[in-house]
């Protein structure tokens, strides 16, 4: 409180924390050299194993599906970082300033993860000719449902859209990250106001581009299927997994003795509330989508769930009901859990796992909808899915840790820092 009062007369500059021991270099700088190398090794091994699986045993379509599911899980984390960066600015949130840098680090990787998530669709478009994405296959070119959607689902527009997402996300990430980095250097508090202004249009762009990206990269896997809730469904995945990833990063930093006095149990309490929020939000979205499709019983829609409720996929469906909603819901209800970063860390690992499972549930059954069902068990070769998920997470971890090493772990001259440092939950 006192720092607000002392600096109130200073019109252009944020409070000066340069001599505050909490902002000493050792507390707000991380190198993470060995861990980033470990992540790189995991990435190479995981992605390597997935590629190897394409040429042996499980087969090409299986490997493509595994990798696409994993890549969409990774992209979700980065897009969620973008969402939270924007929403924190829009809400003029003070409490989360000391967490924002990590959200920004996730955000700037969104364009890179889009490239990772575009590898399989573009390969399928130009080389595979619809091995996984059925609409790219010449086999279906005469299909009446596809012809109705051809104005949207055609190779050239598809590529253009991917480039549009890449451009828009690059602009948002570059602008939002730029404000933050420049403020660290100059301490100009009006950058916060500019960031808030930009967040308004960026949020609209983010919402639309994320929804359309989800249509292109996930919903179009089965061109017959459509759901008006699909964009929100993928958005729920982005917010859900990114807040878990944020907790994982920040709690890890706390464990190695960083961010002391900058992030405490009050901040974890609030991130825990966000984890709870998006657990419930996902359940609401997922159930609403499933319920309406189940009720209205329109063949193009129902077929999608019909595949996913037999041949062994129903166990994944039950796992999602329990592991994506019921279990985290009941556990996160407890205040003591939300205030303990050790407990939150475990839940965050689970949440990231279950979000990859969600993507797996969307993408992987496509392998059996194309093949004749019954030849091989659809649940065979799960190691490829684990390898792909670990590979993508390893890559993401490597990139995130490298970014973390470049900048201070928290914004050092944000005008709302005092609010974050005095943050307390009174209930």
């Amino acid at each position: 409180m006192s720092s607000i009062a002392t600096h109130a007369h200073d019109s252009h500059h944020a409070p000066d924390y340069s001599h505050d021991p909490r902002f000493r270099e050792s507390n707000i700088r991380a190198s993470g050299g060995s861990l980033s190398m470990l992540c790189l090794v995991v990435a190479v091994l995981g992605i390597g194993a997935t590629v190897a699986a394409a040429f042996a045993g499980p087969g090409k379509v299986h490997a493509m599906a595994s990798f696409q599911a994993a890549a969409m899980g990774g992209l979700a984390i980065c897009l969620g970082g973008m969402f939270f960066t924007l929403v924190m600015h829009l809400m003029a949130a003070g409490w989360s300033v000391t967490l924002r840098r990590q959200l920004e680090n996730m955000m700037v990787l969104a364009p890179i993860m889009l490239i990772v998530a575009s590898v399989v669709p573009l390969y399928d478009l130009f080389v595979g000719h619809g091995l996984l994405y059925t609409w790219m296959s010449p086999e279906f070119s005469g299909n009446v449902l596809l012809q109705k959607k051809a104005a949207f689902l055609n190779p050239s527009f598809f590529c253009v859209r991917l480039m549009i997402y890449f451009t828009l996300w690059s602009i948002i990430a570059w602008k939002m990250n730029g404000y933050s980095v420049r403020q660290d250097q100059t301490g100009d508090k009006w950058l916060t106001a500019q960031a808030r202004f930009s967040s308004a249009w960026a949020m609209l762009v983010f919402a639309l581009s994320t929804a359309f990206c989800a249509f292109d990269l996930l919903m179009s896997l089965d061109f017959r299927f459509f759901s008006t809730m699909w964009g929100v469904y993928y958005f729920a995945a982005t917010a859900f997994s990114s807040v878990a990833f944020l907790v994982l990063i920040v709690a890890s930093l706390r464990r190695v003795g960083k961010l002391e006095g900058l992030v405490n149990s009050e901040h974890f309490h609030d991130t825990g509330k966000l984890m709870f929020t998006f657990t419930v939000f996902w359940a609401y979205i997922a159930f609403s989508q499933y319920f309406l499709i189940w009720y209205s019983n329109i063949p193009e829609e129902t077929a999608w769930f019909l595949v996913r409720k037999q041949h062994g996929w129903q166990y994944v469906f039950y796992l999602l009901c329990f592991g994506h909603f019921i279990a985290p819901f009941l556990i996160l209800l407890f205040r003591s859990v939300k205030r303990s970063y050790h407990a939150l860390m475990l839940i965050a690992v689970w949440m990231i796992f279950i979000n990859f499972t969600d993507m797996f549930f969307i993408v992987r059954p496509m392998v059996t909808t194309r093949d004749t069902v019954g030849e091989t068990s659809p649940m065979s070769g799960l190691w490829v899915d684990f390898a792909a998920a670990l590979g993508v997470l390893g890559l993401l971890g490597f990139l995130v840790i490298r970014r973390m090493a470049k900048l201070p772990l928290v914004p050092t001259k944000d005008p709302r820092l005092p609010e974050a440092l005095h943050h307390a939950n009174y209930v």
Binding site: F287, W294, L333
Partner: protein, 189 residues
């Protein structure tokens, strides 16, 4: 909470409710509350016309167990809601609706959810009232002219005679030591 075995009575024959003391500032009453807490008193309260941040920690107030009660009621409501629908449309009066199976769980979810919310909402409100001993029509403190200032500009601590550690002389002396002003005996109940 064990009721104090001793019952203190004034000269005029009225039961003693407790001892009240006024404090000048929020900081004073905050520190006094810490001392009263550390002295081991449990049945006492701080009265102020505005919220004082952190006063619950200074008083050593434990967190309410109301959420556990609400959760139990909420789960009961959700369970009953599900059972009711399952029994009605899956057992007692089976009817084909849109070709869906009897007792399919999907249509039960909204009403299960709503009954869960309904039970939680009612148990929260009623439980809060019950845990607080509300509604109550009168309170011995209301007879004190000076206490009415607690809705305007007075900060006061009242230690009740039902407290195990209560002693008319010693408690009064302690409040005096802590800087309490206008210390007075409260009669009634």
């Amino acid at each position: 909470m064990a009721k104090n075995a001793k019952v203190y009575v004034t000269e005029s024959g009225e039961n003693v409710f407790g001892v009240i003391a006024e404090f000048a500032t929020a900081a004073d009453i905050y520190h006094a509350a810490e001392k009263v807490r550390d002295a081991g008193y449990t049945r006492w309260d701080v009265y102020a016309p505005f919220p004082i941040h952190g006063i619950d920690t200074a008083m050593g107030v434990k967190r309410t167990r109301l959420p556990l009660f609400c959760a139990a009621c909420g789960l009961t409501g959700a369970g009953l809601g599900f059972l009711m629908q399952w029994w009605m449309s899956g057992v007692d009066y089976q009817m084909v609706v849109q070709g869906k199976p009897y007792g399919a769980w999907e249509p039960f979810v909204p009403i299960t959810f709503e009954l869960g919310i309904l039970f939680t909402a009612f148990s929260t409100l009623l439980g809060m009232l019950a845990f607080n001993g509300l509604p109550r029509h009168n309170h011995p403190l209301m007879r004190k002219e000076r206490f009415l200032g607690c809705s305007d500009d007075t900060l006061a601590i009242c230690i009740e005679s039902a407290d195990d550690k209560f002693d008319p002389e010693q408690t009064r002396a302690m409040l005096e030591r802590l800087g309490g002003k206008n210390i007075d005996l409260v009669e009634g109940d």
